[in-house]
């Protein structure tokens, strides 16, 4: 998910007619030189960095006087280094309001209903996650029918049970929710969130906002992003190999080659484990991949990557993604497993084989690392035969399995193979 920065989200909200405070972006130099802006109600400085709970982390600071801004800003830039740093602060006008009148309004993608939901709560502000769980009576969870779209009347009906909301306030909230929903759809967002949303004398104000975009939709958002000068730089946290892998599926819908690298240091810290080897991994099916990876970890192996090549991808995709898997530094083994799959596993096999033949050309395509290939499903016998015909399966460090083996058995056999042949 690509998270837009607060100032970007607020620019979009403003375009939609949602009130946002007056603001400007300042960098470190501009802050030190001093700003010309005058905000009568005081200033808020906010680090433009896609992390949550910025206020708690000291990345949002208020200042009553312009003279206090440089010192406050320096502190934020310093603290932001812990979270990857930031280049800009949003210098915003403080909007006087009562914290008791802070509300929460968001459009989220709900996995349970598999569609958008509009969530409202009368108590917004910090710790909203806890509030949403514990105080359901002051909240609304309105499921939007994706074909019908957002229906303000229905949302208004749902708001009626919330204490303290007048007819006028409900109308304003419905309008605001409609605008958020429009943004959500137009930008292929995973979520659009305003927290807090405050009601002042002159109407609703969005004091803070977040928005996450579906990265799979970025190809059709590029022009929109460019036209608003929304830079993708720094937002793409993918590694170089992940970026390379993403290009495989970019314009080719035939099956998948989903590849993500795992962070070994973080995993080792979380598991409290020392791994005996780092391996390259590929699975047909996410479920079998996760199961197999769990079994591999139990046996002391760290999958350097997750990869799912399901949906019947052509052999060419398998070839390209296997090359990427094998390019990873320090790979000491290779593990491929399929679920009992309906895809043409002979095509899967050919793609893997071509990558092996290229990488291990001097060895006739036989890998020089312990390698397990586990084919189960349609054309699985043909897949195994391909490796036999090309002289791969006879190698001592290669083990080819079929339907007789489970994920657990495959991981255990790989462990024995590794011990015997490394």
């Amino acid at each position: 998910m690509l998270k837009l920065l607060e100032h970007q989200v607020k620019a979009l909200l403003k375009e939609k007619g949602v009130r946002v405070p007056e603001a400007c972006l300042v960098d470190y130099d501009k802050l030190l030189l001093g700003t010309e802006v005058v905000y009568r109600n005081g200033f808020i400085l906010k680090a433009q960095i896609p992390v949550s709970s910025r206020y708690k982390k000291g990345l949002i600071v208020t200042a009553q006087r312009k003279e206090d801004l440089p010192k406050a800003g320096r502190k934020i830039f310093q603290k932001a280094k812990k979270y990857g740093g930031c280049s800009w602060l949003l210098l915003e006008e403080k909007i006087p309001h009562s914290h008791a009148k802070e509300m929460y309004l968001a459009v989220l993608s709900d996995p349970a209903t598999r569609g958008p939901v509009v969530v409202f709560h009368a108590s917004g502000g910090i710790e909203i996650e806890r509030v949403l769980k514990t105080s359901k009576k002051d909240g609304v969870f309105y499921v939007v029918g994706i074909l019908r779209g957002f229906e303000p009347d229905k949302f208004d009906q749902r708001l009626k049970h919330i204490r303290g909301l007048t007819v006028g306030m409900r109308a304003e909230l419905s309008k605001c929710a409609k605008r958020l929903y429009a943004l959500y759809r137009e930008w292929d967002a995973c979520f659009v969130e305003v927290n807090p949303l405050v009601l002042c004398e002159d109407g609703l104000w969005a004091l803070d906002a977040k928005m996450g975009l579906d990265e799979d939709a970025l190809f059709r958002l590029e022009e929109k992003m460019k036209s608003r000068d929304f830079s993708l730089e720094g937002a793409d946290k993918r590694s170089l190999l992940e970026a390379d892998a993403a290009r495989i599926d970019l314009h080719d819908y035939r099956g998948s080659a989903h590849f993500v690298q795992n962070d070994i240091q973080r995993a080792a810290k979380k598991c409290g484990k020392v791994f005996r080897a780092v391996i390259g991994f590929n699975g047909v099916g996410t479920g079998v991949s996760l199961t197999a990876m769990d079994e591999l970890v139990k046996n002391g192996f760290f999958p350097r990557n997750f990869c799912d090549t399901s949906g019947n991808p052509p052999a060419s995709k398998l070839y390209r993604i296997t090359k990427i898997i094998l390019k990873q530094d320090g790979i000491q083994g290779y593990f491929f497993i399929s679920c009992v799959s309906s895809q043409q596993l002979d095509n899967t096999a050919r793609g893997i084989l071509k990558a092996f033949q290229e990488k291990y050309a001097s060895r006739g395509g036989v890998p020089d690392i312990p390698t397990l290939l586990h084919f189960r499903g349609a054309w699985d016998e043909e897949a195994k035969a391909i490796f036999r015909e090309h002289g791969i399966s006879e190698a001592k460090n290669v083990l080819i399995l079929g339907r007789e083996s489970s994920e657990r058995a495959a991981a255990e056999k790989f462990a024995r193979l590794y011990a015997e042949t490394r």
Binding site: D244, R247, H251, D252, R254, P314, A315, S316, K317, Y319, R320, Q344, D346, N347, R350, G351, L353, K354, Q357, I386, E389, H390
Partner: protein, 97 residues
Amino acid sequence: MLRLVNTRTEIADLQFSLFSGGKIRIRRSACLECESQACVRRCVSSALEPVLKIENGVPVLSRKDVKPESGWCVECLACELDCALYGKKAVTSEFPE
């Protein structure tokens, strides 16, 4: 796009583009002596018919009205791998990096 290259007195190569942006190239000067014709035997492409057929002893596209890059060639790599094993190593493929 079908393109003939290496137009000398030898049999010209066959080259065609693929849906993924890759290419298949067949060095047909080697094919006249091929007994296995593995590229054609193994072509498992799509519901229409195999992409390749043998004409005058060399592989050609079996249809002129359908482009391989439309997805007709399903990029199974069988022609390349089997030609390498049973034929004359005349088929090569390349794909975008």
